[in-house]
């Protein structure tokens, strides 16, 4: 599914190297977690993969099912099946959440040469999915993320994910700023979307989210690279001991 090989990325504005040879492979249907201390380059990785401006790839490659991601515009990556759940979802005043969703769904369908969803069909699907995620109808009518609580914003990201049905989902510190109940709702949403054709890359600071979303593999990231990979037990080790020993051990 997702294959990242020896990725080197520079922050354009500051001429600063952030990713320094990161390699990672997420096979079909698997959930991988990336953990690491602040400043290790976790968010940069998610932005580079989704095509945000301001980053320069100096070396390496990233492919989604064999297609070169780095060669595509952000919207092409989305149409190819990549989805990024934002750490801080953006507010768009005046644009109804439903309009946003429908524009996005149909833009992707059109890009893939599929037929667009009719208003009626769209309404039916969005209502059903919102209900599954315990999102009330009112939130669908409100402007995108405007006045949403932290939990509502994250649930809205999961709703978008559910509507767009991506193959590869990247979640950028989705757990930050969530209380226990909100975290459960979000992870229930993710778990409901898990299947053999969809993969997840969950970027997180803490083990707590991983209690709800069981990862297949946990990677530890430091200074722009993956320094250690292992099973779910690796996350528990971080929780108990912190990063200190692990990073020292990795050199």
């Amino acid at each position: 599914m997702l294959k990242i090989d020896n990725l080197h990325v520079k922050l354009e504005e500051e001429d600063k190297q952030i990713l320094k040879g990161l390699s990672l492979e997420v096979p079909n249907g698997q959930v991988h977690a990336i953990m690491g201390p602040n400043g290790s380059g976790k968010s940069t990785l998610s932005y580079v993969l989704s095509g945000r401006d301001g980053y320069e790839v100096t070396e390496g490659s990233a492919t989604l099912e064999g297609a070169d991601l780095l060669d595509m515009d952000p919207e092409e990556r989305a149409a190819a099946g990549l989805f990024l759940a934002f750490q801080y979802p953006v507010e768009i005043p005046g644009v109804g959440n439903m309009t946003f969703l429908r524009t996005a769904v149909n833009a992707q369908r059109k890009a893939r040469g599929e037929e667009e969803m009719s208003s009626g069909e769209f309404l039916k699907v969005v209502r059903a999915k919102a209900k599954d995620l315990k999102i009330d109808a009112d939130m669908l009518k409100r402007p995108v993320n405007v006045g949403f609580s932290g939990g509502e914003k994250k649930r809205n990201e999961i709703l978008q994910m559910a509507m767009l049905e991506p193959r590869m989902c990247i979640m950028d510190e989705t757990d930050s700023g969530l209380d226990v109940d909100a975290m459960r709702l979000v992870s229930d949403g993710v778990n409901a979307l898990r299947n053999e054709n969809r993969s997840f890359l969950v970027i997180t600071h803490y083990q707590r989210l991983l209690n709800h979303i069981q990862p297949d593999v946990v990677h530890i990231m430091s200074n722009g690279r993956i320094v250690k990979s292992g099973g779910p037990e690796l996350a528990l080790q971080v929780e108990e001991e912190g990063y200190g020993d692990l990073l020292a051990e990795a050199g």
Binding site: E75, V95, E116
Partner: protein, 506 residues
């Protein structure tokens, strides 16, 4: 106009809008109708004024009225206070009268109509039956009406070419016709109200219009009548080097209601064309008028060549108690816009509202806003202005809120938001506030923001391309105003917002 059955229209941008954007060239109405025209000689003088009056078959009092205006105009100088930059206009290098030759005699059937005139309306999306009526085919009005029920008065260059649904309106007592017809058929109304809201001496452009206006629309809604359908006028400037000077006079008698839509387009040309219109609205006791404009003149090309110079005076007089007016405008296409649809709140408890979207892209310049003149007690006004600047464009909001000594307990609320796309354009806000009594309240809120890169990236990461994303964000920014538009215009306006910003990013 587009089909408006889709209920999602008020939500923001939708599929149709986005499709429209993608399927359209940069200016959809840029074609030119090759049609045989009859021109008056270039330039303006007393003879031209007389000629226009004669062509319209006007009585002597009207000719005199025009001449009086002309004589005043030659003593006036062009106003320069607006934040607009344009080369000096040579007022003697314009045609002040042009009409399709075929308009001389009424065609008896569709076959007799110049097919190019019909094709023009077809391209504008006007249905066949209405095309026939607009082309002046005798008896076309008797055919059963289908489709949308919006009465149209179409003005092609200097002449009104036809009005639809006239009979149906007449049954309700509503008079809807060209102003030249009104001058002939309803002189008592015209005499009483023409120039009573915008006096001949009002300003340079209004005075010029008073002298040379060629046609326009006339509406009279009798006491207690709610006009049974939307009325609309469609202005098209076709001929080259021709100024359009239309005059609109709307009178809403006591307790009546009317909603009036105005649309305008012009062919794409690399010379500038002058448009100086006057709109006067008289609103009597308990009456209400909604006036909406979607202005889509050709804005000039990416290099700032061509486009319409638009110098327009529009004013509504809430002449008696509890009269109400609502202006809604979407301004997307003019090289230069100089326009301030205003409200005189003369009657006690009268109300004025102004909702505006002004989009300036490439090299466009817009200096636009409103005046709310509170004269009566307990009067209310509300201004919502959204200015969007892209490319090298400059957009100025200029507004006057004036509370006169007698206008006790009156209120105004102004919200003025500017949005910048790119870093070479400008947005300016120039509010004038005059309060001469102690019991009134005036509020002014203004914001300036940039189209946020984060918002665009968020949209693109969900699959929208850059122009779709800009259209979505801008539609959101304009939402309050788009919502105030009648349904008939909302779709068109939404699409226009997107179209006029094409090429503003990337």
């Amino acid at each position: 106009m587009t089909d408006t059955t889709d209920l999602d229209v008020r939500e923001g941008v939708d599929r149709e809008t986005v499709e429209t954007v993608q399927n359209m060239g940069s200016y959809k109405y840029g074609w030119n109708t090759e049609i045989e025209m009859e021109y008056a000689p270039k330039g303006v003088n007393e003879d031209i004024v007389r000629l226009i009056s004669e062509k319209n078959g006007e009585p002597e009092w009207m000719t005199d009225w025009r001449l009086e205006a002309y004589r005043r105009w030659v003593t006036m100088t062009e106003p320069k206070w607006a934040m607009l930059n344009y080369p000096e206009i040579d007022f003697q290098d314009q045609y002040y009268y042009a009409r399709p030759k075929s308009m001389e005699e009424k065609p008896k059937s569709l076959d007799e109509v110049d097919p190019k005139l019909l094709a023009t309306y077809e391209k504008l999306g006007i249905p066949l039956k209405e095309q026939m009526i607009l082309a002046g085919v005798e008896g076309a009005d008797a055919a059963p009406a289908e489709g949308r029920k919006v009465a149209v008065d179409a003005v092609f260059d200097s002449v009104s070419v036809g009005t639809t649904f006239k009979d149906e309106l007449a049954k309700a007592g509503v008079i809807f016709c060209s102003i030249s017809e009104a001058i002939r058929e309803h002189p008592e109304l015209v005499k009483k109200y023409l120039g009573s809201v915008v006096p001949q001496s009002d300003n340079f452009f209004a005075t010029l219009n008073s002298a040379v206006f060629s046609d326009g629309s006339f509406v009279y809604v009798p006491p207690g009548v709610r006009c049974p359908m939307e009325l609309s006028t469609y202005f098209r400037i076709n001929a080259e080097n021709t100024g359009q000077f239309e005059r609109t006079l709307i009178i809403a008698d006591k307790g009546s209601y009317v909603s009036y839509l105005e649309g305008c387009t012009a062919p794409k040309r690399d010379t500038n064309q002058l448009h100086a219109a006057v709109v006067e609205i008289v609103i009597l006791e308990d009456a209400e008028v909604k006036y909406s404009t979607v202005q889509n003149w050709f804005p000039g090309d990416e290099d700032g060549k061509g486009g319409i110079y638009n110098f327009v005076t529009k004013r509504a007089d809430c002449r008696e108690d509890r009269a109400k007016v609502m202006w809604t405008q979407v301004e997307t296409g003019s090289a230069i816009t100089w326009k301030y649809p205003s409200c005189i709140l003369r009657g006690n408890e009268s109300q004025g509202e102004f909702y505006s979207i002004a989009i300036a892209n490439n090299w466009q310049q817009a200096d636009t806003g409103t005046k709310m003149v509170h004269l009566g007690k307990n009067t209310r006004s509300r201004i919502v202005s959204k200015g969007i600047s892209a490319g090298q464009a400059q957009n100025t909001y200029r507004g006057l809120v004036s509370m006169h000594p007698r206008a006790s307990d009156s209120r105004n609320y102004t919200q003025c938001d500017s949005l910048l796309i790119g870093d070479k354009c400008g947005a300016h806000t120039v509010p004038y506030i005059e309060v001469k009594n102690t019991s009134s309240r005036v509020e002014h809120e203004a914001t300036t923001s940039k189209v946020d890169d984060d918002q665009l990236f968020y949209c693109r990461s969900r699959g929208m391309d850059e122009e779709e994303a800009v259209a979505l964000v801008v539609n959101g920014f304009c939402r309050d105003v788009l919502q105030a538009l009648p349904m008939e215009f909302a779709m068109e306006a939404q699409a226009l917002v997107a179209i006029s910003l094409e090429g503003s990013v990337g």
